[in-house]
């Protein structure tokens, strides 16, 4: 069946071409980041800026990462990320399922209230939250850092949309069989929503890794800071050490890329997800 084969091959080539163009557009800035990370501090300020360093300063990486206790920063960011992922996926799934599946008085109003929480710019809540955490004695502690971030309304909203697309038949069947709501949620609905949960987990992880303003405000000592706060230290009012900043920024990308590659299999082709077999 030659025409079909040729058509299939053409489609594959077109697909690859489009994908590679897209990836290149995304990639160029990162190549620049990497190249800046390998430059000499003075070389960065040349005019016009060099695209590649004259001699790659590989020692920028260990130097930047030891100029401040980045090991500790990575641990703190890791703890924050873990708590945020667990907290946000759990509460997201619970909340989304409740809004999508259960009918109760005032559901619309409560959901609107939840959405309302999204419409407040985060920086406005910073000071009141800080005062609250301070009153509870949580400033400069892991508990204080994590406590405000364990629930994400974006996540609840996303899970609600996903749960609303799932057909109810299996659930109804289980309900007739006498299964409790929790069992239905945990055993039937949740596994079906794996792509959504994976994306939610991924985005919670990314959010945790990127969060800057809140960790900046709530941490004081060096031991409690996170990676983003550490990266920003290389950049002051009169002073900017670009190579060190880019080196640490590139290093900070690694865990997230790993997380993405790990989570990918949940939202790409290969898993069959039809409702009823």
């Amino acid at each position: 069946m030659r025409p079909n084969e040729r058509r299939a091959r053409r489609r594959m080539i077109a697909g690859y071409a489009a994908a590679i163009t897209l990836a290149t557009v995304m990639l160029v800035p990162f190549l620049w980041m990497l190249s800046t990370a390998l430059m000499d501090e003075f070389e960065v300020f040349q005019f016009p800026p060099p695209i590649l360093p004259a001699s790659p300063q590989w020692r920028n990486f260990p130097n930047a990462l030891t100029a401040l206790p980045f090991g500790r920063f990575f641990v703190n960011s890791g703890i924050l990320a873990l708590c945020m992922v667990v907290g946000q996926t759990l509460t997201g799934a619970l909340g989304g399922y409740a809004f999508a599946r259960f009918r109760f008085a005032g559901r619309g109003a409560v959901f609107a209230a939840y959405l309302g929480a999204l419409m407040i710019p985060g920086i406005v809540l910073l000071i009141p939250r800080f005062l609250l955490i301070d009153a509870l004695g949580g400033v400069d502690t892991i508990a204080g850092l994590v406590s405000t971030e364990v629930v994400s309304v974006w996540g609840i909203f996303l899970m609600r949309q996903f749960f609303s697309t799932l057909p109810r038949d299996t659930e109804d069947a289980a309900r007739i069989d006498g299964a409790s709501e929790w069992t239905i949620f945990w055993r039937i609905a949740l596994p079906l929503a794996r792509p959504a949960m994976a994306t939610l987990a991924l985005f919670s992880f990314v959010d945790a890794w990127k969060s800057f303003l809140w960790p900046l405000i709530v941490t004081q000592s060096m031991e409690m800071r996170t990676v983003e706060v550490g990266i920003a230290s290389f950049h002051g009012l009169y002073y900017a050490n670009w190579p060190y900043q880019m080196a640490t920024a590139v290093t900070a990308l690694v865990p997230v890329v790993i997380a993405f590659l790990a989570a990918q299999k949940y939202f790409t082709r290969g898993i069959q997800l039809t409702g009823i077999r």
């Binding site: 501090e41 003075f42 300020f45 040349q46 005019f47 016009p48 800026p49 100029a67 401040l68 000071i127 800080f130 005062l131 301070d134 509870l136 004695g137 400033v139 900046l216 405000i217 004081q220 000592s221 060096m222 706060v229 920003a232 230290s233 290389f234 950049h235 002051g236 009012l237 009169y238 002073y239 900017a240 050490n241």
Partner: protein, 457 residues
């Protein structure tokens, strides 16, 4: 806030215990009495447990300094810890100034302030108005830095009447750095302090070279930055100012003929004479001007002493050969340049007042300043220290800086509490003239009116 050892844990533990006990699902009607009894027991137990005080006293200091600058303070901190056994100093720097200010203000207001903080000269009025800083004047002699050892102008920036709110640690005037190699190549004499606007213009024109005549010069004479700290000196040296002497009004000062002439001169450098590229320095990244200067393609660059650590290596190696000259002045006006300074301050609600003041003194003392000078970030605020250093300076820049100090004046930030709001309106003048092409007089009058509104609030 009451800072004592045990009341908070009692409150918190009791509250938690209450919730925990009340949430236990009851199985009989008599459980509420059992619950209250348990609760009282828990509360009493909580009241009984207390943490005993730690033996070492921890002093917290904070600043916006980069890791390299913090390293410069280490010798002073170590010396302080040696003379005060049982005291540990913890440095908690914050990356940049805007966030630093947030953190410090929040910390002070919530009752857990740092013990020593670095105060920017521009923030002094608002902190002074709020009354959060300790008057260090009575203690200056006791920590070994009598107030007479400081430059009077700089000390005045941190004083309110007789009260001194911070020990000045370093300062810098605004100057023009010039690239000696470019002057040599063009066979021009080096500029001299006290030169006029016209001389400045002619020099810049001679140093703007467009070899391939494509309309974009390969080498620029000078640079203009839209941010106010950069052109404050030009305005002053042109005989103008943004506010009247008492700091109450802008109309009459910003739209005075002298100010308008100075602003016209400044903006004409970009628009009419084309000796400076369009300003595009942003917060996150230094603009084209810095790059051009470092690459040796800009002849006259306005900046302060803080530029030097970035290029110290290049200066030592001779890759860049620089000189320092004052801002030019208009005919009939004097050279006046702002002095940007910072000092170590102590909040009034710190729990270890004496130790904090001693630490602030150690950080701003002569020995500490001498050691910091080696990095070259700023000038020492003590004439004795600075002049001694200048004598050994191989690059010759320190002596030039010393010559600028007499023409230095405290910037508006150090005098006006609403300065941050005023400062935010000022770059608009340059933007509207250079980008939108509006006439200077009109823009100045507009912005002056806006400033008046802010001042009246």
């Amino acid at each position: 806030m009451i800072k004592h050892v045990s009341l908070r844990p009692v409150g918190r533990a009791a509250r938690l215990a209450t919730v925990a006990v009340a949430s236990v699902a009851p199985t009989s009607a008599c459980t509420w009495s059992a619950r209250t009894v348990t609760l009282l027991l828990v509360a009493l137990l909580a009241a009984a447990c207390r943490g005993s005080g730690d033996e070492t006293i921890v002093l917290r200091m904070t600043s916006w300094q980069s890791p390299q600058e913090n390293a410069l303070d280490l010798p002073a901190i170590r010396a302080f810890e040696r003379t005060h056994p049982g005291v540990r100093v913890v440095n908690e720097p914050v990356s940049n100034q805007a966030e630093y200010r947030e953190k410090v203000i929040t910390a002070i207001a919530s009752g857990s302030p740092p013990d020593v903080l670095l105060l920017d000269g521009i923030d002094v009025p608002s902190f002074a108005l709020a009354g959060v800083l300790l008057d260090l004047a009575p203690f200056a002699g006791r920590v070994g830095i009598p107030l007479s050892t400081f430059y009077p102008t700089v000390l005045a920036m941190f004083s309110r009447g007789d009260a001194v709110l911070a020990f000045p640690k370093g300062f810098s005037p605004m100057v023009y750095f010039y690239n000696r190699a470019l002057f040599d190549a063009a066979r021009l004499p080096y500029p001299v302090d006290g030169w006029t606007f016209d001389e400045f213009l002619r020099t810049a024109q001679a140093l703007t070279l467009d070899a391939n005549a494509d309309g974009v010069p390969e080498q620029w004479g000078t640079a203009v930055d839209r941010r106010f700290f950069s052109w404050q000196a030009m305005l002053w040296s042109g005989g103008g100012d943004i506010l009247t002497i008492d700091g109450r009004r802008a109309t009459g000062a910003l739209d005075s003929p002298a100010s308008i002439r100075a602003l016209e001169f400044l903006t004409a450098l970009v628009t009419t004479y084309r000796v400076a590229p369009k300003p595009n320095a942003f917060r996150a990244v230094s603009g084209t001007e810095t790059r051009l200067f470092y690459s040796g393609r800009l002849a006259l660059y306005p900046s302060g002493h803080w530029l030097i650590p970035n290029i110290r290596v290049q200066l030592a190696r001779g890759q860049l050969s620089l000189g320092v000259v004052s801002f030019p002045h208009a005919a009939g006006a004097d050279v006046i340049t702002p002095l940007f300074a910072s000092g170590w301050a102590v909040p009034r609600n710190t729990s270890h007042r004496k130790l904090a003041v001693e630490l602030a003194g150690a950080l701003s003392g002569a020995e500490a300043q001498r050691q910091r000078l080696i990095a070259g970030l700023e000038l020492s605020t003590m004439p004795a220290v600075q002049e001694a250093f200048a004598q050994h300076d191989s690059l010759g820049l320190e002596r030039s800086f010393l010559r600028q100090i007499p023409s230095g004046r405290a910037p508006w930030g150090a005098r006006s509490p609403k300065f941050r709001e005023l400062e935010a309106e000022l770059p608009e003048i340059l933007d509207r003239v250079i980008i939108l092409g509006e006439p200077v007089a009109q823009v100045a009058a507009d912005v002056a009116r806006k400033l008046d509104l802010i001042l009246l609030r």
